[in-house]
């Protein structure tokens, strides 16, 4: 039977990353002074599961590496090895190694084994250390003499009376022997009690077996592997007539002489004081379901919301109709309908909120990565840092969470590397030696706000300005507010570090952080006070399935603009319009110029006004700048359920998806960045001279 094992890899990676997360959290929670054996057990179990899965699914490097960790943890667990900080650190670093291995395996890229080899050596050194316990060499010696091949074997098999109680059936064992070679069986009924005393669940017979063929003794013993303590077994070579092989031992091998009889079960019960410990409540009361199942329900609930609003409309129409016809609009049936509709509305909303919450997880999943990071980095940078975490129970969508981890890590690294000063500088500045980084999360409206605060040096505005001018991001004549200057650090290619340190990573700047957060439909900004510290604020939608949108009209269609992209909507004043290079229009909004995008033009619709005076323009934030998009009309704002256009069609450059409005029709949702790109592409095809991408936030005076 051939089975494509790769179909299970997704589940394996998912649970392994979860396992690693658990290991890391628990390792960090481990107090070397006072070891909690349940914590060690939890860590062990996670390592053990990863090892088992990795071996099964063919990720041998992961399996071998975890084996070393598991050995160490096992010794810690049974108390034969003290829990030292050294060992805990080595295990912590090992979780990073494993994470790298697993990610490489998942992404099917090569893994750089060098670090792993080093880290494994550290683990092995600890294992070999003086605390190593003598029982290491308890390797089973039973197998040593069993690889001989004889002409055949004489087997005396006497099961204990209770052997069947392990689910083992002697008949199956005999059948398995039969498959090894030619078998001759003699049954010995001498132990059979008188019929009236026979207990049908017990075994009274034994067998004398002659097995011929080229099997090894190990193969024979293998058959009895499961029952070697539930029977008496003698295996000896068949007497040989024509073979001079004298190595064969003539002594019968008594595999194991377990004490016969009934004492066993009592003993087992006593011995297995198994840990039925009360585990964390989240573990005990959760079930695992595929995210696709949840998404399917979310979709259906989305439908339900639409149906509900249609029914609501119908109910209202009915009442109006009654009124118009001069009838009583408070007839019993209409009242019942109104009550029912109100209840339906309430239930639907609660159902929708409840279903959305299934996809939501507490942000502690991301926050819990940070203590390890701070621990490692503060050591490397010789800085003293306290990490304060609040609001870790704040929930957000799983997909958002999965994608916010890396930007968060980047911001925390940045705070450690560029924010917090070394102890001597801090002391000199009259600050406490130990710096503080605070992570906080909370809900605000339909968004989650994550703040990363440090009490470090803050952003040096002069240096940022100088750098921005040097890099040509802004010009010297630009008049910027403090806030504008601070936010220049998010400009592409901007890096304020004078020395590129190990910590701030592989040359990726804050613009990458900003881009990833934009991709999630979020925003990031920084406020900072020199000498006092900085606050990075990330604002993200709670879920990717729903968005708050502004409905607009262009031509005959309604469209949805994500509210999070919108800065403001204004009515155009002719005096502020400039035409650059004959074609591209820019608008002077207070003190800066933003490109004007005519949506009718982008969509190839006729009837575009020549004079934009009085037209409505939605100012949107895109990438690092702003743009103004002309629309025909503004309608209301509403929450919409996002539907994919790609499922049954394909990607549309200017649209991020579609939604179904209350009246059942489809409205497309704008991809604002896509609109701007498309506009620029069209411009380039027209006049190749103008580039509108850069006159944006950098020139902006808010």
């Amino acid at each position: 039977m051939t089975i494509d094992m790769s179909q299970f890899h997704g589940a394996f990676f998912e649970e392994s990353f979860e396992g690693l997360q658990i290991m890391e959290t628990e390792l960090l929670a481990l107090d070397v002074g006072e070891v909690d054996s349940e914590i060690i057990n939890t860590i062990f179990r996670a390592a053990h599961s990863i090892k088992g899965g990795a071996g099964t699914f063919g990720f041998m490097n992961v399996s071998e590496y975890t084996h070393v960790m598991e050995t160490l943890l096992d010794e810690m667990r049974d108390g034969s090895r003290p829990v030292t900080q050294e060992a805990v650190n080595a295990l912590l670093s090992s979780t990073d190694v494993l994470k790298g291995m697993l990610e490489a395996a998942r992404d099917e890229v090569d893994f750089d084994e060098e670090g792993a080899v080093k880290q494994r050596a550290i683990l092995e050194t600890i294992l070999l250390g003086e605390n190593a316990v003598s029982e290491q060499q308890t390797a089973e010696s039973k197998e040593q003499t069993t690889d001989e091949v004889g002409a055949g074997w004489l087997i005396q098999f006497t099961p204990f009376t209770d052997m069947m109680l392990t689910g083992n059936d002697p008949v199956r064992l005999l059948r398995a022997l039969d498959e090894l070679g030619e078998m001759d069986v003699k049954i010995d009924l001498s132990a059979l009690p008188p019929f009236s005393e026979i207990i049908p669940e017990e075994l009274y017979v034994s067998w004398g077996i002659t097995l011929q063929g080229g099997m090894t003794k190990a193969e024979v013993l293998d058959v009895f592997d499961w029952v070697d303590d539930a029977c008496e077994l003698h295996v000896e070579p068949l007497p040989q007539h024509d073979k001079s092989d004298s190595v064969t031992p003539s002594e019968p091998v008594n595999v194991k002489l377990a004490s016969p009889g009934k004492t066993k079960s009592a003993k087992a019960a006593e011995k297995s004081k198994t840990p039925v410990k009360k585990s964390a409540s989240s573990e005990a009361t959760s079930i695992r379901v595929g995210i696709d199942k949840v998404d399917e329900i979310i979709n259906l609930v989305g439908e339900l919301v639409i149906t509900q609003s249609m029914l609501d409309q119908a109910g209202e129409d009915l009442e109006e109709q009654a009124e118009a016809q001069g009838k009583n609009k408070n007839t019993k049936i209409l009242l019942r309908l109104r009550d029912g509709l109100a209840q339906l509305e309430r239930n639907t909303r609660e159902l929708q909120e409840g279903v959305m919450r299934i996809r939501m997880l507490p942000i502690s999943f991301v926050f819990s990565r940070m203590p390890g990071l701070v621990h490692d980095l503060s050591g490397q940078l010789n800085k003293k840092i306290t990490l304060v975490v609040t609001g870790e129970e704040t929930e957000l969508d799983k997909t958002v969470m999965e994608n916010i981890g890396d930007p968060m890590v980047h911001l925390v690294r940045n705070a450690l590397d560029h924010g917090i000063e070394t102890p001597d500088i801090r002391t000199a500045a009259g600050k406490p030696e130990t710096g503080t980084i605070t992570l906080n999360a909370f809900h605000q409206g339909g968004n989650i706000i994550i703040q990363i605060t440090d009490d470090g040096a803050g952003i040096n505005k002069e240096r940022v300005l100088a750098k921005a001018i040097e890099k040509g991001v802004i010009s010297e004549s630009d008049n910027l507010s403090d806030s504008d200057i601070n936010n220049l650090i998010f400009a592409p290619g901007f890096s304020t570090a004078e020395v590129v340190s190990d910590v701030s990573g592989r040359g990726v700047g804050m613009d990458v952080v900003r881009t990833s957060i934009h991709k999630l439909g979020g925003r990031v900004e920084v406020s900072s006070e020199e000498g006092k510290g900085s606050v990075f604020t990330i604002r993200l939608p709670l879920t990717l399935a729903i968005l708050d949108g502004q409905l607009v009209t262009v031509g005959k269609e309604s469209y949805v603009i994500p509210l999070i992209s919108i800065v403001e909507s204004i009515q155009i004043d002719r005096a502020n319009i400039n035409v650059v290079a004959g074609k591209a229009e820019v608008y002077k909004l207070r003190n800066h110029y933003i490109p004007v995008i005519r949506s009718r033009q982008v969509f190839g619709l006729p009837g575009d006004k020549k004079d934009l005076h009085g037209a409505l323009m939605v100012v949107v934030e895109v990438g690092n700048g702003h743009a103004g998009i002309i629309v025909d009309d503004l309608q209301g704002q509403q929450q919409v359920v996002i539907k994919s256009l790609e499922t049954n069609y394909r990607k549309v450059e200017t649209m991020s998806g579609a939604t179904i409005l209350g009246n059942g029709t489809v409205a497309l949702i704008w991809d604002v960045a896509g609109m701007v790109n498309y506009h620029q592409k069209k411009l380039k095809q027209g006049t190749s001279t103008i580039k509108l991408s850069a006159d944006d936030a950098d020139n902006e005076v808010a």
Binding site: G302, V602, Y649, A658, I660, T665, V666, L668
Partner: protein
């Protein structure tokens, strides 16, 4: 719905030939057939939400019980003269197999016609004699009651592969 054809018990001739059912519809003077197993439903024409910058034959998208489904005008797809939609105009919703996944798409046709049974051998290769449509989109031709029916290869027809070319052309 099952399109399995009753083969009858008389096992008379050489190969008890398997027949498939085809739904046929009319476009102008011609009649076309699609494998009925691929037909999800037939609906009257209703307004669509247009997609910006899509080729003209993509009429737009509709809400089909919560899924967003795109609608293709087959006349325009074939480069035939377009006609005003009327009461007979219908949308045939099809399941189209793509490279990786199955898509639900609707085609606008003048009117649906019949359901016929054809065996594979009853569908002949079509001679290339300047039909309105690209030969790649034709699975073959069948004749019934003196009528020629063009059997479509809807996977190829609806693949959207050439959409990029078309889109680029529009952009230029």
């Amino acid at each position: 719905m099952s399109a399995q054809i009753e083969l009858g018990s008389e096992n008379n001739n050489e190969l008890n030939e398997h027949e498939d059912q085809y739904l046929t519809f009319v476009l102008g003077e011609e009649e076309y057939g699609v494998d009925i197993l691929r037909v999800q439903e037939i609906r009257g024409w209703d307004t669509v939400t247009s997609i910006p910058n899509a080729p003209a034959y993509i009429k737009g998208v509709i809400n089909l019980r919560g899924t967003i489904v795109s609608i293709v005008d087959l006349r325009e797809r074939f480069g035939m003269d377009s006609v005003e939609y009327n009461d007979l105009t219908v949308v045939v919703v099809l399941r189209v197999k793509g490279d990786e996944k199955e898509r639900i798409m609707g085609i606008v046709v003048d009117a649906v016609s019949e359901v016929y049974n054809f065996s594979d051998s009853g569908i002949k290769d079509a001679p290339d004699m300047g039909y309105a449509i690209n030969m790649d989109y034709m699975k073959g031709m069948a004749t019934i009651e003196e009528k020629m029916i063009i059997i479509l290869n809807i996977d190829e027809l609806m693949s959207l592969k050439d959409l990029d070319v078309v889109t680029q052309a529009v952009q230029k």
